[in-house]
């Protein structure tokens, strides 16, 4: 499996991870190794095998969509790194 540093930067961007040059190098070599060891799966003939998404064989469990009070919203808001009143605050997103 050929993975270049450029590919690692692309994946990091998709994953929203700010990685330093050392990390990019390290992950590049480690991902190559890990993905190589996974190549053994290609030896398996799975053309007629269905995928397992859930071991329970569960179908969607539906219920009425009824709002219920949570109790104390403060418990959630207390964890905000930055807040304003009852809102989580983020940097400006619209120019």
């Amino acid at each position: 499996m050929a993975i270049e540093e450029e590919d690692v930067r692309k994946i990091a961007k998709l994953a929203r991870l700010d990685l330093g040059p050392e990390e990019i190098k390290l992950f590049q070599s480690q991902l190559v190794k890990i993905l190589d060891s996974m190549a053994e799966l290609s030896a398996l003939d799975t053309d007629k095998v269905p995928p397992t998404n859930s071991v329970l064989g569960a179908v969607n469990r539906l219920r009425e969509d009824e709002p219920k009070p949570f109790g104390e919203p403060e418990r959630l808001l207390d964890n905000a790194p930055e807040r304003e009143g009852p809102y989580f605050k983020v940097p400006k997103v619209i120019e």
Partner: protein, 488 residues
């Protein structure tokens, strides 16, 4: 000589408290003192809830004095892995990104423990977000194995396993995505149960691999494990994967004895790389089960050799999605500096997550990315079906599968940290059960020459916990477990 409270089992404490021979406060104080005297060497706890625990204990004692009936776990101190929410207290999942996060509600399992008058004693150390097999990936510190403090306790629930083995509590909760309860239970010489997928609610567990994660108990005896499962198991409408099965259905027949039980030994579990001492003790235990009346035969799980590759595609893929929520907006940590929302996400995650978590997010993101999805994730889900079918095939012939929990006893700190693949191989025998969603347990099967515990893994079909415990109980009676670790 009478035992000190910290030496008692879950059943013994609950009974003594209910009968008024021991107060919940005495039980809790004894464990708190034990923690103070030895946890500086073990470091099992990230957080000890001393005041809260004593306060809960006094409530239990008052309840008894008022003549009100007490729950199944009256006065039993319980430690909880720090990826399970206990309302009002910091829950970090072993990660800097959650440092300072205070749980806004109780996990269902914690609610159930409290309802049965258990006392929440503290939060235990783990590999960051439960990703690891040694607890060395905790962002805060390493936990030592109580049997030999130069060795790891296993992981990811290493703090919970070490706490129970060293008698800092008689019961602890862990979570198991690829072996994170069973492998540390084996390394620490105690009983670790991974219940059937769907039997125990995950509401309030910080999600890692949602199609695999299960919460389960660590205890020093088999019947303590049964009791703990009775309390935490069963349908919960707040977890959409919770099954319509009661714990009693799953436990049915657990006291029936071993006579006539058919046990399958998978030839693929006795491979190169399996430590000869582990192999000898596992085979010895299986012979004991046979001498007690079980019928033993060889079975085959031909696709289990693909389990690691399958797991390390599926679990990181699910993790990369589950961990997307940690973005610097809602959960305590936000990296300073940077411009705009995008940079806020990237910097917070870049600084907040440790190397193993980043590695798995990268791996999962890659496996799910456009152009690779079918080759990796799609392929792994089909391989998972084959692994699951192997078990279905085997369980037509036998009631139970027996083999090693881990290929070796506990290894030394740093031994596997440089090579991720070497660490991943620790889970080679435990992963297949998560893939199939069935019930499995690790029970102690002996001590190595170096004095380290080794574990026997038993695997039953989904909702076959009763079968697991039938065999476990018989083996415990015939070959007593090693007991408390002598903490040096």
């Amino acid at each position: 000589m009478t035992k000190r409270p910290f030496e008692l089992t879950v059943e013994e404490i609950a009974r003594a408290v209910r009968e008024g021979r021991l107060s919940a406060e005495e039980a809790v104080s004894s464990h708190l003192e034990r923690i103070k005297s030895i946890d500086a060497n073990i470091r099992a706890f990230l957080l000890v809830l001393e005041d809260f625990a004593l306060e809960q204990a006094r409530i239990v004692d008052k309840k008894r004095k008022a003549g009100r009936p007490l729950g199944l776990l009256a006065g039993v101190p319980v430690a909880v892995k720090d990826n399970i929410l206990v309302q009002g207290f910091e829950t970090t999942a072993g990660s800097r990104i959650l440092k300072g996060y205070k749980a806004a509600y109780d996990a269902s399992v914690v609610e159930r423990l409290k309802r049965e008058d258990a006392v929440i004693l503290g939060k235990t150390n783990l590999d960051e977000f439960a990703m690891g097999s040694s607890t060395e990936n905790s962002a805060f510190f390493k936990t030592a194995n109580p049997w030999n403090t130069a060795c790891v306790p296993g992981g990811s629930s290493g703090g919970s396993a070490a706490a129970v083995a060293a008698a800092m509590c008689p019961l602890a909760l862990g979570s198991d995505t690829g072996g994170s309860i069973r492998q540390p239970a084996a390394f620490c010489g105690i009983v670790g149960l991974k219940p059937t997928y769907g039997l125990v609610s995950r509401y309030g567990l910080i999600a890692f691999g949602s199609s695999l994660d299960q919460i389960g108990p660590f205890t020093r005896t088999v019947s303590d494990s049964v009791l703990a499962l009775r309390v935490i198991g069963g349908r919960d409408e707040r977890d959409s994967t919770s099954a319509d099965k009661s714990v009693e259905e799953a436990l049915s027949g657990w006291e029936a004895g071993i006579e006539g039980l058919r046990i399958g030994v998978p030839r693929e579990f006795f491979i190169k790389g399996l430590d000869p001492e582990v192999e000898a003790s596992v085979r010895g235990s299986i012979e004991t089960l046979e001498s007690l009346g079980a019928r033993v035969e060889e079975v085959s799980l031909p696709h289990s050799r693909y389990a690691i590759a399958t797991y390390y595609i599926i679990a990181p893929s699910e993790a990369s999605s589950n961990l997307a929520r940690f973005d610097g907006v809602r959960y305590a940590f936000r990296a300073p500096g940077g411009q705009g929302l995008e940079e806020l996400y990237e910097r917070t995650r870049g600084q907040g997550f440790g190397p193993e978590v980043k590695r798995r997010i990268m791996l999962g993101t890659y496996a799910l990315s456009s152009g690779y999805y079918q080759a990796y994730y799609g392929k792994a889900q089909r391989a998972r079906t084959l692994i699951k079918r192997d078990f279905e095939q085997a369980f037509r012939k036998v009631d139970l599968i027996a083999g090693p929990t881990a290929p070796t006893a506990a290894f030394r700190f740093g031994e596997k940290t440089e090579d991720p693949m070497a660490m991943y191989l620790s889970d080679i025998f435990t992963i297949p059960s998560n893939m199939a969603g069935n019930a499995s347990v690790s029970i102690p099967c002996g001590l190595s020459k170096a004095g380290l515990p080794m574990g026997l893994q038993l695997i039953a079909p989904a909702f076959g916990e009763g079968t697991l415990f039938r065999a476990s109980k018989a083996l415990e009676a015939a070959r007593p477990f090693p007991g408390l670790a002598e903490v040096a």
